[in-house]
């Protein structure tokens, strides 16, 4: 299994602790992601999945431990420098800017390295966005906003994507479209951490699943073994 191959991990998170003010939300998170993998963080609300993504991106106010990305420890770096290493986030609340139109939202994140997608290709992937280029960001439907939030980080050249619940609150047909997009991205060599509540969706796109509970990673399940571990997983997620 790829998870044994520890030395080649693109991202290695070790003993990660994190705080919001006085509130201690991450209690020693350990996991790794290999290049080209799609890995999910599964867990209940408040387990620490989003906080883990924010910590990797340098957006959690206080953090300790180590986050080695491509040989660099980013634990103490500011988020704008972390972004420059080739990591990009699609936040849970989508973060579409209301005062910017679709084009401006799409063009906002600066290109940080070569190999970012061309705008035409992005509009091929998300044809609905093209029709709405001039609309204000917040006039879009929830699905369109989600696509825009994913689309705009594809332009930057970042090859490591943090996607926080991209399917939340969306219609099944849109969830399918996002699933196909993640599949395409994987084929193109992107590495992705996906935070999900919907594990049926997670199972359709991911290589491995980490289970997060009370600010720790408590288990890892390869996607191939998912069926055999269903009972355990139901227990973890309380579904």
């Amino acid at each position: 299994m790829s998870d044994v191959d520890n030395n080649k991990a693109l991202l290695r998170v070790a003993d990660l602790h994190g705080w919001y003010g006085e509130s201690h939300v991450l209690h020693g998170v350990n996991f790794h992601v290999n290049e080209g993998e799609v890995v999910t963080l599964l867990g209940r609300n408040g387990a620490g999945k989003t906080s883990t993504l924010l910590a990797i991106m340098g957006m959690l106010p206080k953090r300790r431990g180590s986050i080695i990305f491509n040989g660099t420890d980013v634990i103490a770096m500011q988020s704008r420098h972390i972004a420059r290493l080739g990591i990009a986030i699609c936040p849970e609340e989508r973060g579409i800017f209301a005062s910017l139109n679709v084009d401006e939202n799409l063009m906002l994140p600066p290109r940080i390295q070569k190999g970012g997608m061309e705008v035409e290709r992005i509009y091929d992937l998300f044809p609905n966005l093209k029709e709405r280029r001039r609309s204000q960001g917040t006039k879009l439907s929830g699905g369109e906003q989600q696509m825009l939030a994913i689309a705009r980080i594809l332009r930057t050249g970042a090859k490591f994507l943090l996607l926080d619940e991209p399917t939340e609150g969306l219609a099944p047909v849109i969830v399918q479209q996002i699933g196909r997009t993640i599949g395409e991205l994987k084929k193109e060599g992107f590495t992705i951490i996906l935070v999900e509540q919907n594990f049926r969706f997670a199972a359709s796109v991911a290589d491995r699943h980490y289970v997060v509970e009370q600010g720790r990673v408590i288990d890892m399940i390869p996607n191939a073994d998912l069926q055999d571990n269903m009972d355990k997983l139901h227990g973890y997620l309380g579904v």
């Binding site: 988020s79 704008r80 972004a83 906002l108």
Partner: protein, 284 residues
């Protein structure tokens, strides 16, 4: 008609100053009480350039805002940047204190009687428009103000740099997470905002005498303009600035006693009916 023009000229200053305040408030969340003092400093720098270095009006129109802007950047880097995580009130107290210090310094060295500044020779004289006499310089002030305000609006609403600014106003953490240097953007924005105040100061120097209280007299009205237009709204600041200048001028014709308070009456009414201001967005 003359009063209308006078109102328009006041409006020109209201617009530039409230625009700077709106830009600064939008991104920094600081109510820049030092704005009036920096406007005054802009006028004084122009006066100093002329009297100490022999640099005239036209170069001063560029140089003085740059000097005031650089001074603003210094203030932002050394002091204000420490306050962003705290309540608005601290920024207000700091900038209010700075305003008093700057005014006090100029009062100490130059007194309060006011220093004369000549209208540049190219703009002396005036035009007889038939129904009124328009001094050339005053016409120039209105034109310059419209150009600067429109230019700023265009830059913020229609360019890529402006898109960064608008996005950072909404969600600075996320813009930073895309790799943009938000602290630098904030510093430059403050420098630009107070540079606008310096520019207004130079424009004002030949009309009003250059004196340490010129900013304090104006800034209260400008704050009312910003509140009426809607905190942080760029277009609101510009349009409301001109509009209230004209309203004030008209009031002086029809009911002179009311001209000093009319803007504050309008502010009270707007706050009662539409608390977010005429062009403001509803608080989210």
């Amino acid at each position: 008609m003359g009063q209308l023009l006078l109102g328009l000229i006041n409006g020109a200053f209201y617009a530039i100053l409230s625009l700077g305040l709106a830009v600064i408030f939008g991104l920094l969340n600081i109510i820049n009480f030092a704005h009036g003092a920096l406007y005054m400093a802009g006028a004084f720098v122009a006066w100093m350039l002329l009297n100490y270095v022999g640099i005239g009006y036209w170069p001063a129109l560029i140089l003085s805002p740059l000097i005031v802007g650089a001074f603003g950047i210094l203030l932002e880097r050394t002091m204000m940047s420490r306050l962003y995580k705290l309540d608005h009130l601290y920024g207000l107290l700091l900038t209010f204190g700075l305003a008093l210090i700057i005014q006090g310094l100029f009062r100490n060295y130059y007194g309060i009687s006011g220093l004369p500044y000549q209208i540049p020779s190219q703009l002396s004289g005036g035009q007889n428009l038939g129904f009124m006499f328009l001094p050339n310089y005053r016409g120039w002030v209105v034109v310059a103000s419209v150009v600067v305000c429109f230019g700023t609006w265009f830059m913020i609403e229609k360019t890529r740099l402006g898109a960064y600014l608008r996005a950072a106003t909404e969600n600075p953490a996320l813009v930073g997470a895309f790799g943009v240097n938000v602290p630098l953007l904030i510093t430059l924005t403050y420098g630009f905002g107070v540079g606008l105040a310096g520019f207004a100061g130079v424009l004002a120097a030949p009309i009003y005498s250059v004196n340490p209280n010129m900013g304090a007299d104006l800034i209260i009205v400008v704050f009312a303009v910003v509140v009426i237009g809607g905190m942080g709204s760029i277009l609101g600041a510009i349009v409301t600035g001109y509009m209230l200048g004209i309203v004030e001028g008209l009031t002086r014709v029809f009911y002179p006693e009311g001209s000093a308070v009319v803007i504050f009456v309008i502010m009270a009414i707007v706050l009662l009916i539409k608390p977010e201001g005429l062009f403001g967005k509803e608080a989210r």
